[in-house]
Symmetry: D2
Amino acid sequence: MIISAKKIPKYEPSMEFVERKGKGHPDTICDGISENLSVALSKYYREKTGKILHHNVDKAILVGGQARAWFGGGEVIEPIYLLLVGRAVGRIDKDEIVPIGKLAVTAAKSYIKENLKHLDPESHIIVDYRIKQGSVDLVKNFEAGNDIPLANDTSFGVGFYPMTETETLTLKVENFLNSKEGKELFPQVGEDIKVMALRHENEIKLTIAAAMVSGLIKNKEDYLEIKRQLTIKLLELSSEITKMKVDITINGADKPEKDIFYLTVTGTSAENGDDGQVGRGNRANGLITPFRPMSLEAVAGKNPVSHTGKLYSILAMDIAKKLVEENKHISSANVYMLSQIGVPITEPQSIYVEATADISDEAVRSYVESIVKEGLQEAPKLWERILEGRVSLY
Amino acid sequence: MIISAKKIPKYEPSMEFVERKGKGHPDTICDGISENLSVALSKYYREKTGKILHHNVDKAILVGGQARAWFGGGEVIEPIYLLLVGRAVGRIDKDEIVPIGKLAVTAAKSYIKENLKHLDPESHIIVDYRIKQGSVDLVKNFEAGNDIPLANDTSFGVGFYPMTETETLTLKVENFLNSKEGKELFPQVGEDIKVMALRHENEIKLTIAAAMVSGLIKNKEDYLEIKRQLTIKLLELSSEITKMKVDITINGADKPEKDIFYLTVTGTSAENGDDGQVGRGNRANGLITPFRPMSLEAVAGKNPVSHTGKLYSILAMDIAKKLVEENKHISSANVYMLSQIGVPITEPQSIYVEATADISDEAVRSYVESIVKEGLQEAPKLWERILEGRVSLY
Amino acid sequence: MIISAKKIPKYEPSMEFVERKGKGHPDTICDGISENLSVALSKYYREKTGKILHHNVDKAILVGGQARAWFGGGEVIEPIYLLLVGRAVGRIDKDEIVPIGKLAVTAAKSYIKENLKHLDPESHIIVDYRIKQGSVDLVKNFEAGNDIPLANDTSFGVGFYPMTETETLTLKVENFLNSKEGKELFPQVGEDIKVMALRHENEIKLTIAAAMVSGLIKNKEDYLEIKRQLTIKLLELSSEITKMKVDITINGADKPEKDIFYLTVTGTSAENGDDGQVGRGNRANGLITPFRPMSLEAVAGKNPVSHTGKLYSILAMDIAKKLVEENKHISSANVYMLSQIGVPITEPQSIYVEATADISDEAVRSYVESIVKEGLQEAPKLWERILEGRVSLY
Amino acid sequence: MIISAKKIPKYEPSMEFVERKGKGHPDTICDGISENLSVALSKYYREKTGKILHHNVDKAILVGGQARAWFGGGEVIEPIYLLLVGRAVGRIDKDEIVPIGKLAVTAAKSYIKENLKHLDPESHIIVDYRIKQGSVDLVKNFEAGNDIPLANDTSFGVGFYPMTETETLTLKVENFLNSKEGKELFPQVGEDIKVMALRHENEIKLTIAAAMVSGLIKNKEDYLEIKRQLTIKLLELSSEITKMKVDITINGADKPEKDIFYLTVTGTSAENGDDGQVGRGNRANGLITPFRPMSLEAVAGKNPVSHTGKLYSILAMDIAKKLVEENKHISSANVYMLSQIGVPITEPQSIYVEATADISDEAVRSYVESIVKEGLQEAPKLWERILEGRVSLY
């Protein structure tokens, strides 16, 4: 295991792009449902055997439906089709068949019920699955890990801390709009909210695409009024987060003069042709940040015990945070971790940390080393937080 | 349109992680087939109407099959299942139905025939599709663009130049193994090759997972001998690319003493439970580089005329390259571009360039501006290179 | 149009086989849902255009799920998968898309809710569909019919009257068990009930396979007691229908000594591997009667305006009934009708009647002719009864 | 076991309807492929274990594609989709997985290659499957049978002998058109041929729907000339079979004046919206005969060892034939057989024979009894003929 650290200058690009796809976005729906299924499988395996058996359900595809929305109403003409894909141990012993199909369908429906108020899990979506038994070798590898599970792939995780104001703002805007409070104030805003932030120097431009719920909006005037109120509210929210000038555009493709609005029956563009996949949206910290370290690993749906593409994504975030929060000399950190298939997850091939610090290289290195080692001790227990939903994954 | 540039220090991390998924990897198969389909649709539309009509077929899922491989032979027990998803204009006029189904199936089969020598397109894979007519608004938007197409999404593209030696090495190793020469020397190596490079200071560790073709390998000794020869050949290749010490591990999860090898019937892990999706693998430049600017956009399958997620990924690479190659004072560049839905693709919301240069900030800025403007003029013609396959996309 | 009639001896075979698949049988579920969908489409078309447009949704396949049932409970491990197939007019005019997908899913779910008390339409079944626009020629043919629709196929319908006591008994036993009264008395009996009657001379042997609802049965003793009570009740019912000796076997494959019982969670064998299709079960009169005239036409799902495979099956039953009920000299009748594609449905190619009568051949012929002509006048109005559900179809 | 026989008058209806769906009809394609799969599974099981293990793959659905045909050419725009459904033992022992998927796909493709010359198995059809492991109880039942297998359902089989001239003619016309000779003479006639015969008194009207292969027909004149030649040839053929007047209509829905012809690219209507299922077409003797004893059992795809729905359909035909051919006093026979689940297949619940004979009731009964008993001895060996394809099934 190589642990390496390097001091780098403060991260101060004059421009930033930051994106977040809300919980009703087709990609995020896929993430959420796949993760739900992984959690359900994990709990089932634990209940039956005391441990979490091999599974990897980190693939899914959502085929957008077809809908007609109009002020005051609408109709889903063709339901959304969702296909869950992956592998999971299918038998616990000769007689105990794992109810994968039941868990898959239920995971999907429960995500929808909890997160997509206007999407009827019964008539607006078809949930199908093609989940196979895991490859035998991987399963063996998986079960072989006793105290410390063995990494089931050579993959990496990256994380950084802290977020910039632009990043925080992007996250908070979506979080607010999909919060209880947000929904009370603006029930007409669906859950499919895409926030794109562009900061240049000291100005932030927020471009928000928010699927509006047609049944709750009377007419064009109503719609435009809601957008006005929304803008006011979000500017207020922004001012709590940043002192920079913030400019907000909501549903910029609207053309009121041509009666073109972003109306949906169900609050998600998935109802009308927008497709989705797992791992095509937010990274584990909830954002897409092309200026920042990112991995391509889909975190959602991977098993929480041995898949380092998931575990290291979380650990890297945790370690970066710890580095900064517990040491006033470190103002920011990027953490990169690489696993090695077949080796205990507490022993990555290498960890690299870039830190902005006002102490010596040597001091950084030594501090990083101790925090990293502490952090790695958490790896075998991460599954607990994951199962309890206490960790950001998408 | 904001164009902004900034001088940054040379990119010299003491560690790098770089990954490439070869053309037989389940994710890359999805990319390749989706792109094939986009090209086929584009050509069809052009032939029939003189222009490329709206489509977006940038989603697909591959459900791994089940296979048994043994030295000297093997069998695919359950075929791979591939589902192509997206939207495309389905009628040219009242009578001319676009043969989307035919194009989809053919795109898949032709990718397989050209790229996966041992995968029988007839019996080893089921190709299905659920492709719908595009959302009416987007189609309108799309067609409205006359001379200069209008961006059909608010999305970004990023690119950098040049590659580091580690990045070049990662790319070249897979390219070689999947080249005509590579296949002549090592016909036993399948097309599913994953190369993971870890550089620390001046040492590179290459971890290669290469699906070996069981039917062409007689026995354990033969297998181990091929790995030995491969290692020698790749070390030789490496020495042409870098002077750093290179360490190579091929199929590190093999356990000869337990008769565990990475054997496949078809040369791809897709045959036995490894699933795939579009956009989960290589970025447009062919690599996954967590230390570098990356976007989450899947480039494959997007329409080549107005989808800025695709066009700007290519343009950003092109511009970065041009910046460096045409000016000896610039040694490296990162390019970030953000589009605006509904606005001509030649007018991005903003472009940001980070450059390492030995000239003044002002000189950089002015030079960047001129190259960027030149580059943007290419946007409306990019589709030609894309249709001809003359551009790296995955 | 040829109308031909013949006197035949009384139908008195010394043996009879009669079968009925209850409304929860996998084949009947397919029939019921396909017919539901045809009715829904018909109503939609009528509401939007004033007439019933072309459709033919007489194909469906049900893939049995997987379940575990035990006394007192049970679990559906893998949901049932249902695929609805057919053709239907998909657009009413340029802007009005027919919500085929919505109607398909709703037709399925509503059948389940109304007929399968213990099958959860949300988690126990996946309803998918592949319904295409009808072939253009047929659609033209269909719409061309003005006052009198033109037959859209060359197909036949057959019917007979009256039923024998064995036939009546078979029908009534299932009807009773699936009636409100039956369910009140025996809530433990699911809806998947197959009744097979064998009569030899004056003895009838009823073999009944009834999916028992595991959650409502405490234990083996309870199960056996229910079977005893059921037998008593059904013998009582039988004695009201026939004076012949009736022997009843319920779930004959049970082996109490080996703890093998016919237990289901949902009341249908579809939950555990029994597959189904449209048109593989009961004929239009509700029975399968190898000793009697039968056609292979699936009646369910066919359009009720021009598909003679459906219309003539009903008409033939109607005419046979009328022949017997309105003329005391005719004691039984078999009716065979053959349509001709493209010709008005009131003008079949030919109709043949076999009658048992105590009058002259000539009298039979002349009477048949008048009743047949009357009957044919009903053909263009049959759709009304079909849409109202006032006709036996499966 | 009850064996009962009865003398009945000669079968001489003044009218007959007889139908045959040729080997390229969507329903027959489903039959043929399902049976192919059953044979492939049977052979696989036998090779691996020495016996035929449980399977029941007697369900399939074909979703018609979309095609454009014109004189001289054509194009399949959307491929046909075929879903194979059923159950089969999936593991022979812990390590030996049965390649159900491979066998399913191969069974489909080989049927197509052998029977549908113009249908490209690679690009014109998507073959999918959802085949599960059999219900455990049935599997046990199945394997328990040692020397004599136990019936795996309570089902019946019926057969009659001899065919009438109308029946023979219907069968022979299709057989000829799909024979080597027929195809040499009329290569333009596809394999999807539906023959419908209507006999009234001494006149037979044959209505033939034959999918013509567009690529092999130059123009309207060519098409009409082929129909003329066909009619001449078939009248000639008819005259060898019957002395009755035969009238032939080929593709009666053609309207040359409106350029409406029955043209197909592939020789089957499945290419353009005609759907199919197993068991919806010909009975085991190759015909649909509403005037004759018929069962609803799909014979194709059922296991050939214990499924009495299949075995008794064949046996009933065999016994009827034997009764007539081996005894000059018997001129025709209908045979009805009913099995009992869990009882050896050589011991049906009952067999009923209707015979036309010029001997005493008693003589008939005694003769029937001996032939039936002989016939039943064949039941355990029927699978051999089935596997060799030496028996008519659809």
